[in-house]
């Protein structure tokens, strides 16, 4: 056993209101520099939809992630030889057009326009060239199903849905969608790290944050194609790749990352998970239907004396182990099993988990009226307007069992709370639902508390930073304020 700690995340999709506050918080801190205007390390997508960059889930196009070939785990985009041959021109890399051309407006014209019969306007100008442009796409162009069905119908997750089910998603006045906020998953088996020809990408041993060494990145761009979540970005100005850094300067000083801190719906949870690094390769090779379970099996019980002993032996500080024992993420992922990894079939073992959305599911019944007491207590989960198959394509590698389990448990908790507080559900019915959903009343209470009444400290259990381990802290990041944002003293200029 080789125990390592990983700062992990849970996003509770039921609580996401799609306000994009997280995206703005991140943008203002990290990506308002030249060359990064188009990047959204944090973005919020509408599902069904094609996302950002367009069609990022289409791995036939971008060839991201891993696949099993003859029993070996290999990058889908490249063998090593292919990386070298494609180094002059990467055939599966998204370009600026797949994201969008960032723009601002010619505001000066409002002041400088010569007097004339018409009101002057501020026309859009490209932030790359400074020329006037026609805006053709934006970072959330299909927000709230804007532009449907052009965008939404291209969602790769609709694969395997019957025409009826697809119809059901887009029926007029019964449209259904949910939000899907995304940041870097800080994977256990990151494809970006494995693909980097320069070895510039790395995972931090202490907390598992995946970073790009800006001094070693040579702009070979292999990571851009290799990351199946398209959370590697190419800074066209500096010629270097950049990515979400999980706000490590904040985390190291005990603060939540900016997107977590600013989240209006309080959907985000952050905590430590302990995992067994020696089993990563073995478990990442399991067949699709076993992957969710295999991923869970990697995560160790931080209260198990054997695990604690092994963690200490691998040099982990006691304070980190204690934090792991209080981790809200451990609760959601391992104890309650209601948080699931996105697209586990990419085999990167993402460490950001999602509680699948319930709300649109619940309001499906006749004429929008919720029928909450029925003989078949869970049957409307399978009849839902968001087809189970669609959620399974996102969170279960196409297999419904784990998603159904998570939704049933969530529903049982709701009914149980309704029986307790509103009283329009009979307690006996609620109890039966709990039993059938594999949930005890105590667990239901705990889920309810951590979902609805969670305070800042409940949501973010950040391991204390140890000065002796956190080199960034000793170097004082504030000293480099307004510099590159990556902790060294030279401006991010292109070339010499």
């Amino acid at each position: 056993m080789n125990v390592r700690s990983q700062i992990s995340m849970v996003f509770h999709l039921d609580k996401c209101i799609g306000c994009h506050t997280c995206s703005i918080a991140c943008k203002n801190i990290w990506t308002d520099r030249r060359g990064t205007e188009y990047m959204w390390w944090n973005n919020v997508e509408t599902k069904p939809g094609t996302g950002f960059p367009t069609d990022w889930e289409d791995q036939e196009k971008y060839r991201g992630g891993w696949e099993c070939r003859n029993g070996d785990l290999e990058l889908k985009s490249t063998g090593k030889a292919r990386t070298i041959f494609n180094i002059y021109h990467n055939p599966s890399m998204p370009t600026l057009d797949d994201y969008y051309e960032p723009w601002t407006y010619d505001y000066q014209h409002l002041f400088n326009a010569p007097e004339g019969p018409d009101q002057p306007t501020a026309r859009p100008i490209s932030m790359v060239t400074g020329e006037l442009i026609q805006i053709e796409a934006g970072p959330n162009w299909d927000d709230d199903l804007g532009g449907s069905p052009v965008y939404a119908q291209n969602d790769p997750n609709l694969k395997g849905l019957t025409p009826d089910q697809q119809q059901q998603l887009f029926a007029v006045e019964r449209l259904v969608f949910f939000y899907f906020p995304r940041i870097c998953n800080h994977c256990l088996n990151p494809a970006c790290v494995a693909a980097c020809p320069s070895g510039a990408l790395y995972k931090r041993g202490e907390d598992g944050i995946v970073l790009v060494d800006q001094k070693r990145c040579r702009g070979w761009r292999a990571c851009i194609a290799a990351c199946p979540y398209k959370k590697m970005f190419y800074n066209w100005n500096t010629g270097k790749s950049e990515k979400c850094i999980l706000c490590f300067p904040r985390v190291e000083t005990g603060q939540a990352p900016a997107c977590f801190h600013s989240c209006v719906g309080r959907i985000r949870y952050l905590g430590v998970l302990l995992y067994d690094a020696s089993r990563i390769e073995e478990l990442a090779k399991r067949p699709d239907e076993e992957l969710v379970e295999a991923h869970r099996a990697l995560i160790l019980d931080p209260s198990d004396p054997e695990v604690i002993a092994a963690a200490r032996a691998s040099g982990m500080h006691d304070s980190v182990i204690e934090t792991a024992q209080q981790s809200p993420v451990y609760r959601f992922v391992k104890e309650w099993k209601i948080a699931l990894p996105p697209h586990i079939e990419y085999r990167t073992l993402p460490m950001l988990f999602y509680v699948p959305p319930m709300s649109p599911v619940m309001s499906n019944k006749t004429n929008g009226a919720i029928e909450h007491v029925s003989e078949e207590l869970f049957h409307d989960i399978d009849d839902a307007r968001v087809p189970m198959k669609f959620l399974a394509n996102l969170f279960g590698a196409g297999h419904e069992a784990k998603v159904r389990y998570a939704l049933r448990k969530q529903k049982a908790v709701r009914w149980y709370r309704r029986a307790l507080t509103v009283g329009d559900v009979e307690m006996s019915v609620a109890q039966r639902m709990l039993t059938e959903a594999d949930c005890s009343p105590e667990e239901a209470d705990a889920i309810y508390r951590l979902t609805s009444l969670c305070t800042f400290d409940d949501r973010f259990v950040i391991p204390p930073s140890h000065r002796e381990e956190a080199i960034q802290m000793m170097q004082d990041p504030l000293e480099h304020k307004q510099d590159t944002g990556f902790g060294f003293l030279s401006g991010p200029h292109r070339g010499m």
Binding site: G205, K215, R216, W236, T238, G315
Partner: protein, 237 residues
């Protein structure tokens, strides 16, 4: 007049190469340690994809092959002369070298046109880049001119230029046949020295950081701040 020419030859073929090599080593090493952030391929594929393919791929494959040919002639001149002793083999070698040279030129022209025509690419092109393009264009152009009008380069390079280059390496410069070389050949050699001498200050340094450790390193990279090595348990496993 001959004396003046001789002085110019010494300046261009003895002083310049040493100056160029000195600048090259000092410049690249200092830049690597003082400004590592500036080492990058500075790829612009992200901004424009189509012309990039038709320009950059032929250029790189062309120039790498041609450069490799020069290196072979420098390292194994005897072997090359032996190979060229049969006319058919000579023709095959010269023709393929010319083809790769033309491939390089076509790619280079494509890359330059792309820089001129695509406004997004112009945005990431510096004055220095234009100088590099000019140097490369003269270099590749003169190389092809020499290949066509002064045959058979692969043989006379091995017989005449290689001894001269080795005399430089051994620090006992001997101009030998160099003084008698036609203008185009001299231009080609001088431009090569200029390219080498200027390269530390340009984007050409990306040649020096080709990803060699990639082929044999493990897929995953983990860095620990507290310790240089991975923990004991991991090393044992």
């Amino acid at each position: 007049m001959t004396q003046a020419f001789r002085n110019a030859d010494v300046l261009l073929f003895v002083v310049l190469p040493y100056l160029a090599m000195f600048t090259f080593f000092l410049g690249t090493i200092m830049r690597y340690f003082k400004a590592p952030f500036t080492y990058s391929s500075l790829s612009s594929q992200f901004l424009e994809n189509q012309q990039h393919f038709w320009g950059l791929v032929p250029f790189h494959y062309g120039i790498i092959t041609v450069l490799a040919g020069h290196v072979v002639a420098f390292l194994v001149p005897r072997g090359l002369l032996l190979w060229n002793s049969r006319p058919l083999r000579l023709y095959i070698l010269e023709t393929s070298a010319l083809i790769f040279g033309l491939l390089t030129l076509a790619g280079l022209v494509g890359a330059i046109l792309r820089r001129i025509t695509v406004s997004k690419i112009r945005e990431v092109t510096t004055t220095l880049d234009w100088h590099v393009f000019a140097l490369l264009l003269i270099q590749v152009g003169s190389g092809i001119y020499v290949a066509v009008f002064h045959p058979w380069g692969s043989s006379w390079f091995a017989a005449a230029a290689t001894p001269y280059l080795w005399s430089l390496v051994k620090f006992s410069p001997d101009l030998g046949y160099m003084a008698m070389m036609p203008f185009a050949v001299k231009l080609h050699i001088v431009m090569a020295y200029l390219l080498i001498g200027f390269s530390p200050f340009t984007r050409l340094v990306h040649i020096l950081v080709v990803p060699n450790p990639y082929l044999w390193r493990k897929p995953q990279v983990v860095r620990w701040y507290g310790r240089a090595e991975a923990p004991v348990a991991e090393r044992r496993a």
